[in-house]
Symmetry: C2
Subunit: 205 residues, 2 copies
DNA sequence: CCATACGTTGACCAATCGGTCAAGAAATTT
DNA sequence: AAATTTCTTGACCGATTGGTCAACGTATGG
């Protein structure tokens, strides 16, 4: 986006170290939030010195913003993959399972996002407005069309999306609570089956 | 609970100031998280000086723990009010609406809780184990009984509770996102109607 | 009205924070 | 292998943090 620097050619070392830093930062930020994370923690987790980290990024906020930018793309991808020409119910269910899978595979990303929204989205608000909102509007129109054609039971498309996000991301964001309450039970399998039932019964015309 | 101090008689002033501090702290903690909140912010918000705050509480963590303790009670109350002798579907739906109402009326408490769980529940874990878990086990047994009697459609009771928490608390915890996507639309009314439909269709035998 | 406990605060402190800098170590180019 | 760019870091800095303390008000009961 705002790439003012020409940034001619990223060295092997640059690429490797930037990746290391971002991975360590994702771990720390998602665990402690923006304010709770410290550069020293990120330095320790990445195996680099603090000044060295500041050599690759302009500062703490720069690292955080970079992470959020990367995150938004991955976050929106599943929504983009909903096929307007597919079978409506199956398309929605595929989206649900995809989101649930992301909660299991990328819990740190989910928590990073949750932290940011919880604090009022101070750094990601522009992305919500310019990236997420148009896509949600578009998807809502698509779903409304499906409903009008009688291919889905009538529900508010936006609240439907909210509930899908809430129920799937819950397993990543509230993992600490889920783990206490589920003890040794297998969580993911049960969740997949439950959510499938939930949205199938809701949406079947 | 762990009231080691005799604490003979709380003065009028003590009660008033402790309340002030806790209210201010709830505002600050829920907005910035534990680490993001500062005693100076809490002092400013409560209208007291920082040393005065330390006169009423042993420290930052003491304030936070006190808030979480108060919160757990309020959090469990609706779950306790599910009537084993009531009509199953209506009891669950009443619980859903009650939780949604709490998200609207006490969003700060919801966000405080979400923050704590997101960080791995470092300070509230004991309460989850000793307070929430037994109650959830009990409720799960109750719901399983209702299902066995054919009064509810068969679903995993624990995942059902997770989805209720997730969908209702979402409107408080992700308010920043919801507000962007809903613009001027009335959020709460639509949410109530949507969730009613969602859980009615899921649970109707 | 005064003694004693309660309440309040400005000034201060050690620790930690994000960030700087100069100087040296490794690569890379010539 | 010399020159030049890239990479790395120990030492340091000002600002902020949670918390302390001595001194000063203020309520209250005898």
């Amino acid at each position: 986006m705002s790439d003012a620097t020409p940034a001619k050619k990223p060295t092997r070392i640059q690429l490797r170290n930037r990746t290391r830093i971002l991975d360590a930062a994702l771990e720390i930020f998602s665990q402690h939030g923006y304010r709770g994370a410290t550069l020293d923690q990120i330095a320790a987790a990445s195996g680099l010195s603090k000044p060295n980290i500041l050599y690759y990024f302009d500062g703490k906020e720069d690292i955080h913003v970079t992470l959020l930018n990367q995150l938004m793309d991955a976050w929106l991808a599943p929504l983009r993959e909903i096929d307007p020409d597919g079978a409506p119910l199956e398309e929605i269910l595929r989206y649900v399972h995809r989101k649930l899978e992301m909660s299991r595979e990328f819990p740190r990303e989910s928590r990073l996002f949750a932290n940011e929204i919880l604090q009022g989205a101070p750094r990601i608000a522009p992305h919500l407005e310019s990236g997420l909102k148009p896509l949600v509007d578009e998807t809502a129109t698509l779903i409304s069309g499906w409903i009008a054609e009688g291919k889905l039971a009538p529900v508010d498309p936006r609240h439907l999306l909210f509930s899908i996000w809430a129920t799937t991301q819950h397993y990543a964001d509230f993992d600490a609570q889920v783990r206490v309450l589920m003890e040794d039970r297998p969580v993911h399998e049960g969740a997949g089956q439950y959510l499938d039932t939930l949205y199938r019964r809701l949406l079947k015309p």
